[in-house]
Symmetry: C2
Subunit: 307 residues, 2 copies
């Protein structure tokens, strides 16, 4: 099979955002460089939230500027609002991930806006992106699309409705996120099939899963079956789940690469070199749990990269 899939590293953003230990700027850049050398070309390198909210991202400008200058890297940054987008494009950042929650309650708590206000702000971000002298892609990320810790179940019809709205508003990518690890694979497959129909191939659809309840990679497989070929993950599953001690957070990049490659979906990533990058994380966050099975067990005998 000559099919490919894209793995996007989000550990430097989603993995680090709940970790109070500051990960030094030089180490962040070393991490990005090491993943790039392992073949991970898509990396969400930082978040342009107000630094007073999350001191971990106080160096967002420095990390963004250095990332933008790395040959071969496709860096991206999370922006929670227009102001964050303005800061991001000022660094030359070519891809912005604008997050809004499908759950009204979650959006209010996360970005202090109604969903409608976030949609309006998304339009302003797209306008800002189009006004730059260099190409800036804007991804619309739908958080809590498969369940919410505050509201509980989330209506898939509302996800599809918001997908339509973001596509019409000019999104260059749609990202659908199981922010809190609630999804099951049957639900995942149905939702991504519906979103896929709504988007109708106009822009790529990314999937963002958490492994909080152990179903992260099962959901990836379900999304693959629904046609998704772009996945977020965090090296070593960094960050865990802030609401469940001991439970993991983002799916593990190394295990995701193993899953995709083992199914014949070429990622362009060298699994052995990727596993080595865990050392950088371990060195600077000695108290964090590093998740992931393939780093412990190694690949199967006879396993070869699909590439």
């Amino acid at each position: 099979m000559s099919e490919t899939a894209t793995v996007r590293e989000v550990g430097l953003r989603d993995g680090l955002q709940m970790i109070s230990t500051f990960f030094p700027t030089d180490a962040k850049l070393a991490w990005i460089r090491a993943e790039l050398e392992a073949g991970v070309k898509d990396i969400e390198v930082c978040s342009f939230v107000p630094p007073k909210n999350i001191p971990q991202f106080a160096d967002a400008v420095a990390v963004a500027e250095a990332s933008v200058a790395m040959p071969g890297l496709r860096p991206s940054a999370l922006v929670p609002n227009l102001k964050g987008a303005q800061r991001a494009v000022a660094t030359g950042m070519p891809e912005l991930h604008f997050v809004l929650s499908v759950s009204e309650e979650h959006n209010l708590r996360n970005v202090q806006r109604t969903v409608q206000q976030s949609v309006d702000e998304f339009r302003a971000v797209v306008e800002l992106a189009r006004a730059q002298s260099f190409p800036v892609r804007v991804s619309g990320a739908l958080a809590t699309a498969l369940g919410c810790t505050i509201a509980g179940p989330v209506d898939p019809g509302r996800v599809v409705e918001l997908a339509h709205i973001l596509v019409e508003a000019g999104a260059d990518e749609l990202s659908v996120a199981d922010t809190v690890g609630y999804a099951n694979p049957a639900q995942t497959r149905r939702l991504f099939e519906e979103v896929g129909r709504a988007v109708a191939g106009r822009i790529p659809v990314a999937a963002h899963f958490h492994d909080t309840r152990g179903l992260g990679l099962a959901n990836v497989y379900a999304a693959v079956e629904a046609g998704v070929r772009l996945f977020d993950a965090s090296l070593a599953g960094l960050g865990g789940c802030p609401y469940a001690p001991g439970a993991s957070g983002n799916i593990v990049t190394e295990d995701l690469v193993f899953l995709l490659e083992s199914m014949g979906l070429s990622t362009g990533i060298d699994l052995g070199r990727l596993v080595e990058v865990r050392r950088i994380v371990a060195q600077h966050l000695p108290d964090e749990t590093l998740y992931g099975q393939i780093a412990k067990a190694g690949p199967p005998k006879g396993f070869a990269r699909a590439a």
Copy 2:
């Protein structure tokens, strides 16, 4: 959806077999009773291997006899050969799991027989079962069906061939096992679809997955998609992987139940009560790692048993 699925606990056999600390007989029975009370009716309670090989199963007769006497329980036992089957039926055991490896190298190492010799012995076990004064079911378990630590990749055509042979030989169930955690979901789905066609609904097909490389539950979902409704699992993923320190072994019963129930497949198992049973394991094996995400994170808000 009113569909059901069966979860079979194999922790007392596959979970315990590599653990040198003897789990006291009374505690084994307390574990079995507690799972039965949580709704787990199918439990592989012991292995009739020679006690000198695995001292953990020195009490197999006592565990088997007590299990056979428990109202509502459907106990089963692993038998590696005819002698084990003879010991098992002498206790009144109504279901025998006869294991042979698809990989010739693995079978030689595991039971010191060629695959052909194991097939011949399987026929003898079926004959023994039919000669009893009470009904005895015989399951043919195909180990290393999705890969082998010695031989590497395993030919799916050989799995299908052995499936045919075991069905013709009188198997009451076929179990297909990823003994060493090598499988990926695309491979799993293809293999179980092929085996399903070979068996053609004549007997149930069970799936037995290990989570050594993190894909255990993804493989469960793939097998569900291929029509499988009977799964082995081990409470707390007990046992780990003997060849990979820190890596998990069997898929976790609690997480499997969560996966199935969340997809609307009713298991008849009370997830909360099942999680409580981990205490018995923790009490008697304080040095073992207890795996499992749902025990740490709890079910999603609004989650209800499908039943």
